[in-house]
């Protein structure tokens, strides 16, 4: 009952973004990450920010969820911005101490950097709150399909990915049970130094490996009994459908990119 389901960040609000083809959403996410690096002035950053707010509004997911996506990475963002701030040169020097210095350009650049990070994290959160892991896997498989011409076993990789997703909750449960069982045998996971703590993982990791191998064995047998042969042609139950809305989404991105390039010049 505890950790049975691997929710990820998915929030089922069934918005227009939820109904987009996962391939479009994955492409859009990458596309946005690329054009973030085109933003070089206030206007372009404002445009990207507004567009992101528009997406957040479309997703019908509360801002709080997005904030939770950024929060754990806040320190990384601030640290990188600080490095940028203290070490960049150019522009008006404002403050200096030994090798540290703050310049007007440094301030501007570190502010842009914070925005850039925030944008990238938020756009990936838009993807994950509106797309189930299952759809993500299907989208990735479909997008990687051309690689199979290069002899990359895409369908086998996709099968592995989908099985991994399927078994994450099962294995999380298993870890919980094993830890409980060893705690009941008097084990204290929290005491001692780092080395001692690492050593304590043995009574958890070995049973976990043993049962995972057993599981893998059982699963392989069950899959074979149901006619699975790695590499053999298969039909697909889930087929992704590209709808009119996906075209619109694509067009929106084209417009956004053009606008961005124009605003860069100003």
């Amino acid at each position: 009952m505890n950790s049975k389901v691997f929710f990820g960040l998915y929030v089922p609000t069934n918005s227009i973004l939820h109904r987009l083809d996962p391939r479009m959403k994955i492409i859009a996410c990458f596309w946005y990450v690329v054009i973030v690096f085109l933003a070089n002035n206030v206007l372009t950053n404002v445009l990207l920010g507004l567009f992101l707010l528009f997406l957040i509004w479309l997703s019908k997911v509360s801002l709080k969820m997005y904030w939770q996506g950024i929060k754990p990475l806040m320190w990384v963002i601030l640290l990188t911005a600080a490095v940028q701030l203290f070490f960049s040169t150019g522009g008006q020097p404002i403050w200096q101490w030994h090798f540290l210095n703050i310049t007007s350009l440094g301030i501007i650049q570190s502010i842009y950097l914070i925005f850039r990070f925030a944008f990238i994290i938020t756009i990936s959160t838009v993807l994950t709150v509106t797309t189930t892991t299952l759809q993500l896997a299907a989208g990735i498989e479909s997008l990687l399909k051309p690689l199979s011409y290069l002899k990359v076993p895409v369908s086998q990789l996709a099968m592995m990915l989908s099985i991994a997703l399927r078994f994450i909750p099962t294995i999380m449960d298993e870890i919980q049970t094993i830890m409980d069982a060893q705690r009941a045998r008097g084990m204290d996971f929290s005491a001692g130094n780092l080395f001692q703590r690492a050593k304590r993982l043995v009574p958890v990791m070995i049973p976990l490996f043993v049962s995972s191998f057993k599981r893998a064995d059982d699963l392989a047998l069950a899959m074979e009994a149901r006619g699975y042969q790695p590499g053999a042609p298969r039909t697909a139950y889930r087929q992704l459908r590209w709808h009119m809305n996906d075209n619109w989404a694509f067009l929106t991105y084209v417009v956004l990119t053009v606008a961005l390039i124009v605003l860069r010049q100003i």
Partner: protein, 292 residues
């Protein structure tokens, strides 16, 4: 060694859906065979239970029949097709196999995806899949759960999905390898009821492995394996009523056989054949009235 043997052996090929001929199997690295000189036929449309103590070779036999292990010596035919490497696809289609652990055979991320897995392997067209999935889920009474993830299902429900996965391929034989042993009583009852339904209403041949005597009495025939040999193969009422045979091979007795054993120890003569609970009650009533 063979204590009981009934017809259905040689020359009955047309009736037999599965035919095992002088099968001997040794796992690589073992010196002792796990199965030695097994010959038997499974008649079409019947429910046959394999019983035997742990390590007697029950699962190995079932896996060999489905071509999940390579045959060392002897022959197996399923629906008149020899079980061989090149026929495996056809064999897997004719046999639905349900394993013991409900979790470890659930491949799909949802119930419908899991049923679809076998259909995808057998290249059923995308257009035909929704109907066949629904039909199979309907047979096991799981349609409302089609979109559920396995984490939301009980063990018994997962086993019913596994059965639906097997049924969707329209097999002729269903093999259950201790498929109820990890379920709670409610889940177990439902799966067993489903088996009876599939046999009677849909005409499947069922081969069930079980060490639960209350399950073995549900079928038509019983195969007893011990120490890699076929010890007995006969009608359920003959084998499951024979407390001496069952105890000799370290097997549990069905409830009514235990009760008869108890009566016999106290000097009451009891019929040798297995009796269902109703039959036993009728017999007890007769005993009582005849004494009056």
């Amino acid at each position: 060694m063979l204590e009981y043997y009934i017809g259905m052996t040689k020359g009955a090929g047309s009736l037999a859906i599965v035919s095992v001929k002088d099968l001997t199997f040794t796992y690589p690295g073992n010196s002792e065979p796990t199965l030695a000189h097994i010959s038997l036929d499974l008649p079409a449309g019947e429910w046959i239970t394999i019983i035997g103590p742990n390590g007697s070779g029950k699962s190995t036999l079932a896996r060999l029949i489905d071509g999940l292990l390579p045959i060392n010596s002897g022959e197996i035919y399923v629906d008149n097709i020899p079980v061989k490497e090149e026929n495996l696809h056809a064999i897997h289609q004719r046999i639905g196999f349900v394993f013991q652990n409900p979790d470890n055979q659930f491949v799909g991320t949802t119930v419908a995806d899991d049923v679809a897995f076998g259909l995808e392997n057998h290249q059923v067209s995308h257009e035909d899949m929704p109907f066949r999935i629904k039909q199979a889920l309907n047979d096991v009474d799981m349609v409302p759960y089609a979109k559920k993830e396995p984490a939301y299902l009980s063990g018994g429900q997962k086993q019913r999905v596994a059965i639906a996965g097997a049924l969707s391929l329209r097999p002729k034989v269903l093999i259950f390898d201790e498929a109820t042993s990890m379920l709670d009583p409610e889940g177990r009852q439902k799966v067993l009821k489903l088996l009876a339904h599939l046999k009677v209403k849909k005409g499947f041949t069922i081969l069930a492995i079980s060490h639960d005597p209350s399950e073995a009495v549900l079928g038509d025939k019983v195969i007893l394996l011990d120490h890699s040999h076929l010890v007995a193969y006969g009608p359920t009422n003959q084998i499951m009523g024979d407390s001496e045979l069952l105890m000799k091979h370290r097997l549990g007795l069905p409830f009514t056989t235990q009760l008869k054993e108890q009566l016999q120890e106290n000097g009451i003569t009891v019929p040798k054949e297995y009796q269902s609970e109703e039959q036993m009650m009728t017999w007890l009533n007769q005993q009582l009235s005849s004494k009056k």
